[in-house]
Symmetry: C2
Subunit: 164 residues, 2 copies
DNA sequence: CGCGGTTCGTTGTGCGTGCAACCAGAATGT
DNA sequence: ACATTCTGGTTGCACGCACAACGAACCGCG
């Protein structure tokens, strides 16, 4: 027989039914939604989800431009990953690089008119998808509750990625 | 000015505050937890999250073995991805391949004693992590609610991956 | 039987990503 | 003014994954 090592409390060795449903459900739900939304965006607008996020953050930013570094942390991507993603989007003419005169090291990624248009079209599709797949499955009260809970989770998980 | 195209309803063009918090919060929370849990497992047991999941599903299966195909869909991985993952775990001696005599095409992945031990150790760590990061942030009632909601989400999202 | 159609697992290939190393420029200290 | 340290962005590299194509084996039907 195995002797108790760290703990014999049952919850140390297995999850209860509801716990398992909540946890594994989240993993599966996330995967399913990410896949579905990505496929949808790809099919309708030929845009990947990560590309969409770049355009979206840029569109919502002052002057439709952001520093590479800020953008990277916004979309949860490493700096190197963003460099290449911006390269791709630049090649497609959706965004352009603009030098930063305050800081000669810096680069802005800036939305082009074409990028703006692309996003305007994609945004409607994507938001409809998010609603249909996610938001509509919860009541407003539940959404509120979720929003609060996520904040707690995010804080607890350290948020290792980049700065702070 | 831009004219109305598909729809002018405000919710077609943007998310409300609570909606945004619930949706983006989930994306960030998921990313943060996945990263933290993976790092933890890697640091303590030198095991990747995907490897852990394989071991876990195997341990919970009859005779601690599963068909490659079933395993792949359980851990949300493509068949080819699983082939190589099982290769890796096999090289580490944690699992072994067993031919299936019912179906000569088939392969079982089966836990080795070493894999069993590894999992027993890792499971405690991982479950503690899941609790600390996720489960403990919700009340039992909230977990129940979440579990139900995920089912609706998963069903709605099609679940494209593999069978049914 | 023998013949299509399907499923299981593997392999070739390409892509997106993170990490580490790097350089240029900025910030800080003396 | 100079040396040191830090930061922003890019590049080399390796890894994990999905997709498509493949061979083998199973299944159904005539």
């Amino acid at each position: 027989m195995r002797m108790a090592t760290t703990s014999d409390a049952p919850q140390a060795r297995q999850l209860s039914g509801p716990e398992l449903r909540a946890w594994r459900g989240m993993l599966r739900a996330h995967a399913a939604m990410a896949k579905a939304l990505d496929a949808q965006l790809e099919a309708v607008h030929g845009l990947q989800l990560s590309s969409y996020e770049v355009l979206m953050y840029l569109a919502d930013a002052d002057d439709e431009r952001m520093r590479m570094c800020d953008l990277a942390s916004s979309i949860l991507l490493s700096r190197s990953g963003l460099t290449r993603l911006v390269d791709r989007l630049g090649r497609e003419g959706l965004i352009e690089r603009v030098a930063c005169h305050d800081d000669a090291r810096g680069q802005f990624a800036k939305l082009t008119p074409a990028g703006r248009e692309k996003l305007d079209a994609a945004r409607v599709t994507h938001l409809a998808g998010v609603r249909a797949l996610f938001l509509d499955r919860f009541t407003p009260a539940e959404l509120e509750l979720l929003g609060n809970a996520w904040d707690r989770v995010i804080e607890g998980a350290g948020w290792s990625c980049c700065k702070t």
